[in-house]
Amino acid sequence: MDAEKLGLLVDRLAAADAAGKLRWARGINARAYQASFPSSTVILEYVPSGSVLSDPGKGSTVNEYFQSEIKRAEGIVLRVLDEFGRDVAEISARELEEAGDLQRAALIKQLYERAHYEAGGERVIDELLASLTSDSR
């Protein structure tokens, strides 16, 4: 997958999220969040150090596969699923940092924090606090 295209996707997602257009929901793992569009899904996942969770099919050689795994290890990974829920692309904050694209790496991390806030329960607590504050006035 064209890295520049994925970088552009990170930019557009950050803009859409800032405009409140993304609806984050919990993913299948505790540290994963996803936002769905009419025929695609974006997943943001925190991969802890030492994790091995990639598809064995990634990379055409064993070496490429392990390099891909190393790049994915520890950090935030952005994955894209197609209309049938198949993995079609991914990019990690770590890969972007290594490529010198610190701005987009930071955007992925900000997106993850926003998704965690929206779908991880913090937003509900904030709304509850705001509601209780206005009730007590």
Partner: protein, 179 residues
């Protein structure tokens, strides 16, 4: 042919041909807009029939979507039960079938808006990922995934799809009462 000469003479004298010509002109002046009006009415009736047919088709599609969604909700509950029983083979088959049903609904019902399609896509993505995780677990020989977590996600999707079903029902009722 005396009678013929008498008739033509009378026609010439009485100028009845002018009167007939005048009447014909009047009739044609009235007749042309009348014909246009009849044609317009026929066209309007045809358009109304076409709109009614489109509306009926759309209602049938929405009804079919609602019926299918209800079935999906029931099957999701059954899938949760399979997970609790650790019935991995039945669960895998059910994940796949549910995903296909949702893909079909999205492809068939063109009246669904982007947000509604997004809700279907969200569930499709969750089902696809859980199915893949289960397949990998079986490949590794474990055969199981965190069923409590899987069921928690399935419950989220049940809630979302129930909301979608309620919204489609409301829209369907609004359309009926609106006419």
């Amino acid at each position: 042919m005396a009678w013929y000469e008498a008739l033509t003479a009378w026609l010439a004298d009485s100028r009845v041909d002018d009167v007939v010509g005048f009447l014909a002109s009047v009739l044609s002046i009235i007749g042309v807009p009348g014909a246009v009006w009849q044609a317009w009415r026929a066209r309007s009736a045809a358009q109304a029939a076409e709109a009614a047919s489109r509306d009926a088709l759309s209602k049938l599609t929405t009804l079919r979507t609602m019926t299918q969604l209800s079935a999906v909700l029931q099957q999701l509950e059954e899938l949760k039960a399979f997970n609790r029983l650790r019935a991995a083979s039945q669960a895998i088959e059910r994940y796949s079938r549910l995903r296909s049903s949702l893909v079909e609904i999205r492809a068939r019902d063109h009246a669904l808006n982007d947000e509604e399609r997004g809700v279907l896509q969200q569930t499709i993505a969750i089902l696809a990922q859980l199915e893949r995780e289960l397949d990998r677990a079986r490949e590794r020989g474990g055969g199981e995934i965190g069923f409590a977590d899987a069921n928690a996600r399935l419950s989220d999707e049940l809630d979302r799809l129930s909301e979608l079903l309620a919204s489609l029902e409301r829209r369907s009722l609004r359309t009926d009462h609106g006419r």
